[in-house]
Amino acid sequence: MQTEATLAQADVSELDLVRRCQAGDTEAFDELVTRYRTRVFSMIYNMVHSEQDAWDLAQDSFLKAWKSIKRFRGSSSFYTWIYRIVMNVTIDWLRKKHVRGAGAEFNDETQLREIDPASQTVPKTEALPYETMERGEIRTRIDQAIAQLSPEQRAVILMKEIEGMQYHEIAEALGCSIGTVMSRLFYARKKLQTLLKDVYESI
């Protein structure tokens, strides 16, 4: 576990790398890419469910970051900044592919009316014992469930649950309010709980 001092050192060196990038140092950029490429790729992969597309989108995101690195002012952390680029690239890509989540209920506007916030989650299929399920099967189930979410809901739940980001960091990365983040998280959880209850209950 990193202490505050080491975190501060990491931040300083990261800021130093950013400054060097802004001066045109490609080696510094390479170092930043090495730090974040796996996380960025993983995040995109979990959103698009295709290794090749995730690879291309990750490349595209880093290239955009390089092009606009001079505009980074350091008001937020670099990783929030890079996530904003990643999310813009990925969500735009998903929208172009007309990915909107399954059914109209996952439109942020309509779902407020159509899903009872106080409703309890119900498993969609009969419970399967965890032991009998192959790991690949579980991941397929998770991918299928995430595919039912809108691009924005996918982004929110993945940043919260996988990256452990705070509401305000997610809001910054997505360019929306904290309230919107919490609301999207609410509906994303509800939907995933409905679709995956048998999986997590059998663990």
């Binding site: 979990n46 916030p117 106080a118 579980i138 739940i157 998280l185 995956l196 999986v199 663990i203």
Partner: protein, 172 residues
């Protein structure tokens, strides 16, 4: 005021405290069911973290290599692109300059012409300055003007600063 969804999310994530927590829990119609929901949400989070965090980038080095090449290409292209862009964009400022200058000349010309025309239309006097006929030695600050209305055959001679009247004027 926070919506129910926001409060619920904050509650699930343990972000509510004090009075807000008390009020929210008191507002739940079935606290036991809500607790079960919250436990489910937390289990879901654990499941996602465990299963999805494992996805790693294979061929990391190749990823870096490919990106380095793209960045290098990007660093090379701006020079060529800049020239191209400049050759395109140079014509636009030139066009703007030419257009602006033409407009300015036109406006100046129009204003001058109008300025010259208008007094003649507005004033019925024809004014002539007759400095040439005033001796600058005798009257250094003198001005002599004639105002005339040809239609009414009226002529006014207006002099200023004359020390003495020129002899030819007196003769007429």
């Amino acid at each position: 005021m926070k919506a129910f969804e926001e409060k619920w999310t904050a509650w699930v994530d343990g972000q509510l405290s004090g009075r807000e927590l008390f009020e929210f829990e008191a507002s739940l119609p079935d606290k036991a069911a809500a607790e079960a929901e919250r436990t489910g949400a937390l289990k879901l989070g654990e499941l996602l973290k465990r299963e999805l965090s494992a996805r790693t980038l294979t061929n990391e080095e190749f990823f870096g290599h490919q990106l380095r090449q793209s960045v290098a290409r990007l660093r090379e292209t701006p020079v060529g692109q800049a020239r191209e862009t400049r050759s395109i964009w140079w014509t636009i400022p030139r066009l703007l300059w030419t257009g602006g200058a033409s407009l300015a000349v036109f406006l100046v010309f129009t204003v001058l012409v109008m300025h010259e025309k208008n007094p003649a239309k507005e004033s019925q006097y024809v004014t002539q300055i007759l400095n040439a006929r005033v001796d600058p030695v005798v009257s250094p600050n003198a001005t002599v003007s004639i105002f005339e209305v040809k239609q009414d055959r009226v002529t006014v001679l207006w002099t200023e600063g004359l020390q003495s009247l020129p002899a030819d004027y007196a003769a007429k």
